[in-house]
Symmetry: C2
Subunit: 370 residues, 2 copies
């Protein structure tokens, strides 16, 4: 019996490639740790000390399964967002929640629309459940709501994905644009609004809650501004009927006790969050200066990373990325032209950014001479 | 647009019921915490202090995603089991790994065989992916390898599930029986050997590693003897071709940084594990005495729980369970006759077992008089 004989036809046909190779794996391949870990859009400023304390306290209780309903966290989140706990499902990060959502809504051949170069893990899930992925280009480094909606109408999409602010470009749309997009969706389509970076949006650019709107599901995470990527916890906000459907298939005891405790404490520490957002804004400004000093352009960003246009094609940017890695600076880059003229650099500590400042010039020179 | 219109036909047809209601939910319903939390087969003796320390240390690094390959833990596990890291995939507990395995192997209508009354979460995943679940009865409170294999041949099963030791009855089979079962499997079937409780098996009753045997995948967890249920981390041991297939669909960054660190430390602390196993054995003996004092029979168990035959039908055992809960003692029970003549009581601390001893007589009396 070969493995492929054991697999479903769908599983047998799936590629073995993974959406992201982790930094630890890259470090093992290069044989040394990175000096600056700026490629995974993590928050180098860390979680709230209160969140660390809460996780440490919960560690002693680790023999108990985490609450399968994340009741206390959902109650806190409901108060925070002005909705009810029935509008919220907690899961193993947005990645896990996207997988569950796709499983619920996408069968083999179901049309799904996203932007070419947008979040690869969403595509991984759609492909993994046999969906038919349709893409539209970015427009001026922004995901394009009009193109997305037009494609959704054309192919009869069940899901339409957009991230706001966008990963990997850092660009964003204001609430009026998103509201128009929701209103323009075909009747059978659901907007998957990935708001992993929403905590970094200027207040005026935030889309108000749409608690009972069945046309949109919003994905949030503690992995970015809250600095809890390693705790793997996120949540989806949506109409109760859709949220309830997650109960039919999700891994009910999949979120750890420590993560639930850490997330509650992080949510309660608004001052820490504000401090992180301010430090991220300062780091973005410095990254723009570092880029400018080398004659490069940093794109505007409402996230904790900055896309820096390397001024050439994807091959040049790839070489810059590799030369930065060789100098101990881990960054990533978009996978699709013309976005891939850029590298994507995380908002680091001062020491991280010093490392970027020192490495970028030599990396550029080496990349250009290759 | 209704939610059901958004769902796949399979998802729309799934029941909203969940395999297990968590103890926190039950406590909220009853309005008070349980005195003795003995229903979820958790390890009240807790994790190794070294594991708690490791998780606490990792909490400060929670801003970093956990290693998506769990490389260090897989390396440790490979050494522990005498296999290679390519024989191992780490996931969000056995529940998560079972879900991924079923997704890889079960399409709509795929036949799957298990025992009536065996692990509900396995059934949940099979149903969730549209598989056709076929069951055979237990024989004398043991899952019955011959019946399972015969049914697998009859229906052309892709997966055959058995837990050893068994949950919920605590019974077990020796290695010769399991080896015969594997040899008797139909050519296209995979044995899903759930070994969540294997750490409690007498040494002589353990099935040796079958590292490259493509006919069996073994599921292990840190949730039971290692006392890390709240960290949600387990692993599957299998032939590398099958293990590699998990990469095609799993949530790559789904296991937390703290959990990986805690699991490594727990695995290294063999003394703690031996101490837990000894305390569990003592608790099983005391539970048998407590049952006998009320004229009831405790079934033999190689797990951290004991099935106690309440001497009547499922309705009587259900009333005993409810009367115990009313007295602050949380236990569970099998869901299918004739297994459901029993309640399933976890191996508690001395204080937990004192609570059981105090509550069982009155609970029985109340149940019998209802």
């Amino acid at each position: 019996m070969t493995t492929d004989r054991l697999l479903t036809p769908l599983a047998a046909a799936l590629p073995a490639s993974v959406p992201f190779v982790g930094p630890e794996t890259l470090e093992r391949v290069r044989g040394a740790p990175f000096t600056a870990r700026l490629g995974a859009n993590e928050s180098v400023f860390g979680p709230s000390p209160a969140a660390v304390d809460a996780m440490r306290a919960a560690a002693a209780e680790a023999w108990k399964y985490g609450d399968s309903t994340s009741h206390e966290l959902r109650t806190d989140l409901a108060a925070h967002h002005g909705v009810t706990p029935e509008h919220i499902v907690v899961g193993e990060g947005i990645d896990g929640l996207l997988g569950t959502l796709v499983r619920l809504t996408v069968a083999e051949g179901t049309p799904v629309v996203t932007s070419a170069g947008a979040y690869p893990t969403f595509n991984y899930h759609v492909t993994g459940f046999g969906g038919a992925l349709h893409t539209v280009p970015y427009t001026a480094d922004h995901e394009d709501p009009e193109r997305l909606v037009a494609k959704a109408r054309e192919v009869g999409a069940r899901l339409v994905y957009i991230s706001n602010p966008d990963n990997p470009m850092g660009s964003w749309h204001g609430p009026a644009t998103l509201a128009r997009m929701i209103d323009a969706l075909p009747a059978d389509a659901l907007l998957v609004l990935d708001e992993a970076y929403a905590d970094f949006l200027p207040e005026a650019d935030r889309l108000p809650e749409r608690a009972d709107d069945p046309r949109v599901i919003r994905m949030r995470t503690f992995s970015k501004a809250h600095g809890l990527a390693g705790a793997r916890i996120g949540y989806a906000l949506g109409a109760p009927g859709l949220i309830a459907a997650f109960e039919r298939v999700r891994n009910h005891f999949g979120v750890t006790r420590m993560s639930q405790a850490g997330a509650r404490a992080a949510l309660a520490d608004a001052d820490w969050l504000a401090g992180v957002v301010a430090r991220v804004a300062a780091a973005r400004a410095r990254l723009a200066e570092i880029a400018a000093a080398e004659g490069l352009t940093a794109l505007p960003s409402a996230t904790n990373f900055v896309a820096i246009d390397c001024g050439g094609d994807g091959a040049l940017a790839r070489r810059v990325l590799e030369e930065l890695a060789a100098r101990g600076v881990f960054v990533r880059m978009p996978g699709v032209a013309p976005l891939d003229r850029c590298i994507r650099v995380g908002c680091g500590t001062d020491a991280d950014l010093d490392a970027v400042a020192a490495a970028l010039g030599p990396a550029l020179a080496a990349a250009r001479s290759a």
